[in-house]
Each structure stands twice: as structure tokens, then as C-alpha cells.
Symmetry: C2
Subunit: 119 residues, 2 copies
């Protein structure tokens, strides 16, 4: 059997440039995605709450990150008919599932980066 | 006790903008880093071998990724006095340790991305 581009897409190999896995890896193997998903683990949050937790993120980058996560079915965005409008972001089942490897990565980083010394 | 920027750097919190953790997370939560470290798990590889395995990576991006991983002590670069020069990249102990959460992430992606259907 020979492989063509379509076949490549069915073998779920992050090393294959044509595989949709690569796109998902690009999304999740991303600092801001890893941080957003961590904040949403306990439950829904609003944009402003996320912005405060992710120190240093710009509104533009946070919006883009949330939009990509929504497009990949990792979170849902719910607009409530309130004044001012309330918008909640919540992990989907897939998003909750993705939070395990990302927590593993965040925990590894926190455990293995040498601090600058005792406070 | 109040926190200043230096204190922040000692609490190893990826959510803190000033923490060196954030820099390490930025490096590891990166598609190409996750793929490079995976390829180097079994043993040293040359630049050309890495380039073939990481389908679609440009030489410039691969060089930059390898340089950052070396600067963060995740891999070593060894130049052998051969003609043509042979350059090997090899994971350090820290790099091998980092490969576990990254494998977790790659495996999750491969298991959870829906392929386009059977070949």
C-alpha cells in the first residue's frame, strides 16, 4: 500500500506535516493554551478573570487563543443576556481530557526550573 | 510578607509573568520543541536526521529551536572533527526528564484528534 496525503491524515502521527494532529499539537503545545486550560479546569470563567490569571497576556492574544480553543471544541463560549453582557468560557469534555497532559507539563516546569535562590 | 518581582521568581508559578518558569513553559509548550525532544529520546541525532523526522520544519526554525533547547540545558550539541563536520544533538538528563510530559501531550493529541475517516 502506498501513502498519499489523505492516508497520512488518517494515521494520527504528530510527526506528519499533513496530519490534523499537527494542528492540534500546535494549539495545545502553546504557552497560553496550556495556561488557559489550567485556569478553566475548576469551572467556567469570564474573559476578565482569565486575563487577570494569565499575567502579562494581551487581550488580543487571549481572544485569539480562546477562539482557537473553541474552534477545536476544547471549550465553549456562552453569552448571557445581561447588561453588561456576560460571556463565560468553559471546558468541554475534550478540553477536560486535554487538561491532564497540560497539567503534567506545567507541573514538570514548576518542579524543574531552578529558582533564583531562596526568598 | 509582601511580594516583589524577585520574590515572584522564587515561587515557581507558571502563571506569574516574571517567573523563569514562564520562559521554560514557553520553550516546552511549543510544537517544534515537543517534536524535537521526542525524536531525541532514543539517542543522539544529527541536524539532517532531525529535519527529516520533523516534516515541514524549516532549517531556520529547527536551528532556533535547537539553540533555545541547548541554552536551557535540555540538550547538548557536540561537534566532531570529521570532514564534513558532524554535529550531534543529544538530550541531557533534564531533557530526558522533560520528555515524559511531552510524550503524554503528543500521545493525547494522537489519541484524541479525529482522523478524516478510514483510508
Amino acid at each position: 500500500m502506498s501513502l498519499n496525503a489523505n492516508d497520512q491524515c488518517t494515521r494520527n502521527d504528530v510527526y506528519a506535516a499533513m496530519c490534523p494532529c499537527r494542528d492540534m499539537l500546535d494549539l495545545l503545545a502553546n504557552k497560553w493554551s496550556a495556561l488557559v486550560i489550567g485556569v478553566l479546569e475548576p469551572g467556567p470563567q469570564r474573559f476578565g478573570q482569565l486575563k487577570v490569571r494569565l499575567e502579562g497576556v494581551s487581550p488580543k492574544v487571549l481572544s485569539r487563543t480562546l477562539k482557537r480553543l473553541e474552534e477545536h471544541h476544547l471549550l465553549t463560549r456562552t453569552v448571557y443576556a445581561e447588561v453588561p453582557a456576560r460571556v463565560d468560557y468553559e471546558l468541554t469534555e475534550l478540553g477536560h481530557s486535554a487538561s491532564a497532559p497540560l497539567k503534567h507539563l506545567r507541573d514538570w516546569v514548576e518542579a524543574n526550573v531552578l529558582s533564583d535562590g531562596p526568598a
